[in-house]
């Protein structure tokens, strides 16, 4: 199971890397979305997949049963999902605003902050 999930995570991360290498902002955004999901799956998998025993302490016991599932990765993923969602929505709006204002979905033509024809430094002094 871990191997299958590892393969899937690899697929997610390579798709994300491919999309983020694009010049189009919208593809980069899709890449970020896929990357976030790949990382969440990764956290899930590194917590070891032991789904047989739920992590609940039986009545009368003081410790969870041996081999019970690891509850921590789910807490981590929940946090990461919330954060990833917030950042992705911000970037979506930012990408849309940039498209409206700069009239560009292409990062090559986004050169207002770093103009290509910047003046050369003076050689005097």
């Amino acid at each position: 199971m871990e191997v299958a999930l590892a393969g899937l995570i690899g697929l997610f991360l390579s798709a994300a890397a491919y999309l983020m290498l694009s010049k189009a902002i919208i593809r980069m955004l899709l890449g970020v979305a896929i990357l976030g999901n790949g990382v969440n799956l990764l956290i899930f998998t590194v917590g070891r997949l032991t789904p047989e025993v739920p992590p609940i302490v039986p009545a009368g016991e003081t410790l969870p049963l041996a081999g019970s599932a690891n509850p921590l990765p789910q807490a981590l993923i929940l946090t990461a999902i919330v954060i990833g969602f917030a950042l992705l929505s911000f970037l979506l709006v930012l990408g849309y605003r940039a498209y409206q204002e700069l009239d560009a979905d292409n990062t090559d033509t986004m050169r207002i902050a770093e103009p290509e024809a910047a003046p050369r430094p003076p050689l005097s002094y």
Binding site: I25, A98, P121
Partner: protein
């Protein structure tokens, strides 16, 4: 139900945290609470500034108390919800955390005052002060947390509030800068999360103090992979070469106050996290990574000021000097000795304050000359005495010349390099100072000494110059001068900072006291 009394000897923390130790959550709690309050009061223009100042002053006071307390009692720790560490989320402060947090709050205070001189009413209503407080909250949280996943969360708090600040005002150039800043920083924090996931998979713990012990059992292969990923993530956050492209693309675009707080604080958090995680929590990684970090540090040290030399845009040039300063911190980090790490901590404190003042000064210069490019500046020497004095101090301060604060950490770092026999690093630090001095004296010559703008009219008086109005002189120049006075004072009496950075380096290299504080002395 509970008829049979159970004996839980070590299930929960039983002793309450000493009241004085709560001080380590105040910087974070106050900032969060203050930001919430200010969002609720967003219609009240007048109250915003006053309340924000009150909160930041309280944060500064708690950080000051924290530093004093750590001088007295060593590292402090508290774990949330009475869960025994490593199960509860730990907040832990040693000298490194405390002096970083103190410097951050001092810089934030100056920026909050300066912002009064340039913010439009609209920008204030759209939440400059709440976002500034949230940024400070994320920065303080990163410095004070003792849990690596929690560190990631504070990184994201910092990131999302910095997004807000960066696009506040919504000019085209800001959107352009924010796209580059946003994607590359998001990628860095995601890499950080990936590395945390692998580290958790390898050790089964997220607590930094617990990691110190457990990371020793990782095999070399996985260790190398994980620590390289951490290094990549932190190098992007710190804008170390070759991962620095986002910084000069974005830091000159927002309001000056925002540039100042970004330049002062954000990159240092990346450098802090690199030192905290790689040097302290995974000490075995440094053995393998050292050649890489040395190369990164040397390249950053030299290419930072060279980049600044090639710039004519004032704030972009400052951005490249920020990168050069990160090189110095990475140099200390690469050395990994008491001198190196002490120098890195000391330099980071210097850099947080100095870069903040530098951006504020750049803002005042832009105001007076009405230009952002040094080609169209000139004649400020005759126009403003206070600004000339402040900038001249800046020239000495940022290049590390005596008698100002920049000299002392450079001495520690160069001495560390020589003691470790790493002549390349020691040489690169000196070359960095020299190149920075060239950059600074050229800026001085162009902005202050030359009469008019570059070109045929450079010998005639600059017609574009205007005086600062009352608001700009009071809040803008006032805040800049007060922070500069603080830096000059620290530079003339640096003893306590030497002592603090020595303690900080010692506790980073042999973190027994840190581990004892977290685990209540039960581990040793």
């Amino acid at each position: 139900m509970a008829s049979q009394p159970l004996d839980f000897p070590t299930a929960m923390i039983e002793a309450p945290t000493a009241a004085a130790d709560w001080v380590m959550v105040w910087p974070v709690a106050l900032a969060l609470f203050g930001a919430g309050l200010l969002v609720m009061l967003r219609g009240q223009g007048r109250l915003q500034f006053g309340l924000a100042m009150l909160v930041i002053a309280a944060i500064f006071a708690s950080n000051l108390y924290l530093v004093l307390r750590i001088f007295e009692a060593g590292p402090l720790a508290m774990t949330m919800g009475k869960w025994l560490p490593p199960f509860g989320i730990t907040f832990a402060a040693d000298m490194t955390s405390a002096v970083f947090a103190l410097a951050a709050s001092a810089a934030a205070m100056a920026v909050a005052v300066y912002a009064q001189s340039e913010l439009t009413e609209r920008e204030e209503r759209f939440g400059f002060y709440p976002m500034l407080l949230l940024l400070l909250c994320g920065v303080s949280g990163s410095f004070l947390t003792g849990d690596i996943f929690n560190l990631y969360v504070w990184f994201e708090v910092m990131l999302i509030s910095s997004f807000g600040l960066l696009i506040l005002g919504g000019r085209k150039v800001q959107l352009d800068g924010a796209v580059k800043y946003g994607f590359l920083n998001l990628l860095a924090t995601t890499m950080f999360l990936v590395s945390i996931a692998y580290l958790y998979g390898l050790t089964g713990t997220l607590n930094l103090a617990d990691l110190i012990e457990k990371s020793g059992n990782i095999e070399t292969g996985p260790l190398l992979a994980v620590s390289l990923m951490f290094l990549f993530a932190f190098a992007v956050k710190a804008a170390a070469f070759p991962a620095n492209a986002w910084l000069p693309a974005s830091y000159h675009t927002p309001a000056v106050a925002v540039s100042a707080i970004f330049g002062g604080l954000l990159t240092k958090v990346g450098a802090y996290a690199a030192i905290r995680v790689l040097t302290m929590a995974i000490p075995a990684s440094i053995v393998h990574l050292q050649p890489v970090i040395v190369a990164v540090a040397i390249a950053t040290l030299i290419l930072g000021p060279l980049g600044a030399l090639a710039q004519t845009h004032l704030r972009r040039a400052v951005g490249f000097l920020v990168i050069g300063g990160i090189g110095a911190i990475f140099a200390g980090f690469a050395l990994g000795t008491v001198h190196g790490l002490g120098g890195a901590v000391f330099y980071a404190v210097h850099s947080m304050l100095a870069i903040t003042v530098f951006y504020l000064l750049a803002g005042l210069i832009e105001r007076m000359t009405g230009a952002t490019d040094t080609l169209s500046m000139g004649g400020l020497y005759g126009a403003s005495t206070p600004l000339s004095i402040l900038f001249l101090i800046m020239v000495f301060l940022i290049s590390g010349l005596p008698p100002f604060l920049g000299l002392w950490p450079k001495i520690l770092l160069v001495e560390g390099g020589i003691r470790a026999g790493n002549w390349w690093l020691a040489g690169a630090l000196l070359v960095n100072s020299f190149l920075t001095l060239i950059v600074m004296s050229r800026l001085w010559a162009h902005i202050f000494w030359r009469n008019g703008p570059e070109g045929e009219r450079s010998e005639q008086p600059n017609p574009e110059l205007r005086r600062l109005d009352r608001r700009e002189a009071g809040f803008g120049l006032g805040a800049t001068a007060v922070l500069m006075a603080l830096i000059v004072g620290l530079g003339l009496f640096p003893n306590w900072l030497f002592e603090a950075s020595g303690i900080a380096a010692h506790d980073l290299l042999s973190p027994d006291r840190y581990v004892d504080a977290v685990f209540g002395g039960e581990r040793t």
